[in-house]
Symmetry: C2
Subunit: 265 residues, 2 copies
């Protein structure tokens, strides 16, 4: 058995910690998944992409077993090393270094159901929450434009709570490229925007479509909105000015899910 990693200053620990930065992730072709939920879903859904699992002595034994069962090396580390490796302020005793799982645009679009497009989403928590919501609401895939936050940012990975490994995610490509691919796939492009005149309940969600989400602060850029087929607004029944991005996205995605599954499945 390999010795416990105990030196937070070691090169190995520094290399893992460097994965907090986009440039290091791209150079290494690796990223960091922190916490039991992320590690579990990585090991359950895409074990072949896991490089190493790092775990403290009293980490979830089931997870350590799962890693061993999938042939993923597990290395024991001290609490100090775990803290040094992780971006989370309170790492939960387990983390994994893994290879990216994004797929080319065309591969992501293969399949059925509605599609989710993120353009210019910059906040890691929002991006991760929308990916989680897309997974929960049964989206075909999530397409992330090149101007958006890097989904391998540890904060994004954490906030997907494992959904990153559950559904196809495609990264990069300009909005124009993504839109062209969606149209070729026969999808109507539905912009979600508070200034839309078409209300969500009046929108046809029974035919193939893609939800296009914009930046959390300034919404969709006018040229992106204009390139869509319909501009859809989630109705506001009270006095609130708006919903935040994750909430609006969740309402839209669940409306699509409801159209696809009219009653309980």
């Amino acid at each position: 058995m390999e010795p416990v990693l105990s030196n937070p200053q070691s090169d190995r620990v520094k290399k893992v910690r460097a994965l907090h930065r986009r440039s290091s992730r791209q150079r290494a072709g690796l990223f960091l998944a922190e916490g039991p939920q992320a590690v579990r879903e990585l090991l359950r859904f895409r074990p072949e992409t896991a490089q190493t699992v790092y775990a403290v002595a009293d980490a979830d034994a089931e997870l350590v077993e799962l890693a061993a069962g999938r042939g993923v090396p597990v290395r024991e580390v001290t609490d100090a090393v775990m803290t040094a490796m992780c971006e989370a302020q309170h790492p939960q005793g387990i983390a994994a270094v893994a290879r990216p799982v994004d797929v080319p645009l065309q591969d992501a679009l293969a399949g059925d159901g509605y599609v989710v497009v993120l353009t210019n989403v910059r906040d890691p928590g929002n991006a991760g929450t929308v990916i989680r919501g897309a997974d929960a609401a049964g989206a075909r895939c999530v397409l992330v434009s090149d101007a958006s936050v890097d989904i391998y940012n540890p904060k994004v990975v954490r906030s997907t709570v494992g959904s990153l490994w559950h559904l196809p995610v495609s990264l990069g490509g300009s909005v124009e490229e993504i839109f062209a691919a969606c149209r070729s796939a026969g999808l109507r492009l539905l912009a979600t925007d508070g200034i839309g005149t078409q209300l969500l309940p009046d929108t046809d969600l029974a035919t193939p479509h893609a939800w296009v989400m914009g930046n959390e602060a300034w919404g969709l850029e006018p040229e992106v909105r204009d390139a869509c087929d319909e501009v859809v607004r989630v109705p506001i029944y009270g006095h609130a000015e708006s919903l935040n991005l994750a909430m609006a996205a969740t309402v839209c995605m669940y409306a699509s899910a409801a159209a696809a599954h009219p009653k309980s499945r």
Copy 2:
């Protein structure tokens, strides 16, 4: 005109800052609303509860005018004083000290539409986001049990983005008292819980009901769940284990809104 407040160490500034703490809020009978959106909605909807608006020299002039027009004293402060007063790391140049706006349980329950009950919600951001969502989705009111986070916590106030002043909110009272009042008002109690066997699309939302939300981490306490009439689960169509509290609440509330407004209004 009164002099600009420029000493971050002054008693007045310390008194405002003390409102970050629940005990000081309760002693003073006041709380702090930070940022233009909160101050605007306070002044638009409940100006009689505003005590003082504090604004930096280049604060939104329209807001300062609005305050003056509603007879609310405006006091100019330096950037350093604004930073010292506010809980937000980047205060946006304006804040107000105001009196609480919560109403007694019975008053909150007067009116039509579905009701939202928060039991044991502890995270300020979640509580605020659910109040914002309840406003957007046209809930009758939000009832907050005594074991939940204080909604006058600056983080909650900020994350309601003004909705705190838009719909009746009732604070305190045990879950038992709240449930009894809901039943007297003719409401069915619908627990939202990932372990529910009844799916949201199969739930009757056409008759009066209250959504009961639990803690973000551990869900509803068993005895609270058992006291409800139905335990409802938001369907998960993909592989996600769950939705977070704010997302699940938003989906449930918008389902209620859709039942009340079958097509565009």
